[in-house]
């Protein structure tokens, strides 16, 4: 099956790629959006003093 890859997705905050699979007639059989990105704020904010969190989480997205 033919595969069209759009990598990276641009003009947005964050990382993403799209994989489009085409059937024999060239029609879209299926498409997948993938996010090849994780930093893990959910984990590394644990144990930080609560008053420091407002200085950490703005770095989730700075756009």
């Amino acid at each position: 099956m033919k595969k069209v890859t759009i990598d990276p997705i641009t003009r947005l905050e964050g990382h993403g790629k799209i994989e489009i699979f085409l059937d024999d007639k060239g029609n879209v059989a299926n498409a997948y959006l993938q996010i090849p990105e994780l930093r893990g704020f959910e984990k590394f904010c644990e144990g930080r003093p609560v008053e420091e969190v407002p200085r950490i989480v703005p770095r989730i997205c700075g756009v």
Binding site: P8, H15, N30, L38, G40, R59, V63
Partner: protein, 317 residues
Amino acid sequence: MAKLKLALYWAAGCGGCDVAVLDVNEKILDIANLADIVLWPIALDFKYKDVKAMEDKSIDLCLLNGAIRNSEQEEIAKMLRAKSKVLVAFGSCACFGGIPALANFSNRSEIFQRVYVEAPSSDNANGRFPQTSTKVEEGELELPEFYDTVSALHQVVSVEYFVPGCPPPVDLILKFVDLLATGQLPPPGTVLGSDKTLCDECQRKKGEKKISRIYRPHEIIPVPEQCLLEQGLICMGPATRGGCGQKCINANMPCRGCFGPPAGVPDQGVKMLSALASIYNAKDEGEIAKMVEEVVDPAGTFYRFGMSTSMLKRKRL
């Protein structure tokens, strides 16, 4: 003169460094006169394959922000290194690991477990985690490998210059562009910023530094003109490079060290510990122990932006 070719890329970052480039406002027109942009995912639609097709060393300048957190980021850093004459670690994540490197107190399996299983917003009863390769009906899907350890850019590829800051301040960005435009770039390895510490540049009144307890920010209203450290607030000024413009200090908030260690200091956290120890006004070991307890999160505070380049680098695996 032919226009320069400029690439901007984000690895494990937040996009704040990219926006900082736009924060130069109308000066962006000067940058546009000076250079054609060949990659900038936040703003322009160039693909990785476009860069891959370019000849080695055909990009004059690459500003790379974000830390190296997964295999894709490492591969693209290596590709941009090969294609670029000058590669700049742009912002605290690329320079020192930054906020994403706080994850070095943890590891991949702990992070996956928390994010994809335990997080209240996750519906994942089967405990499925992202895989580097997944077979689907139509073929195969690939994701980068998520590393246990977050690295700074120069720990993965060679880097010519370091522009620190979370994000880098506009005047520093413009200074770098000016040095580039006039052919006056400093020797490779230079960290842009001041050679002094933030303390040396700070305008707050300084007296005798002796503290008998540490305050958390909600426990005290600091006197605006006086040194924050003297008032018992942990301020990373003695252990941090100057040149940031002191936005935090001017907002009555203590420094958290985003400019990294000053020149000649190999480890920011050790430098800060040493500074704190020298101002502790403790009479006996009991008082010392009490004050040490008052520092709630020493590693996460003293290495807030610098775990990757610290001597610790990470928690033992």
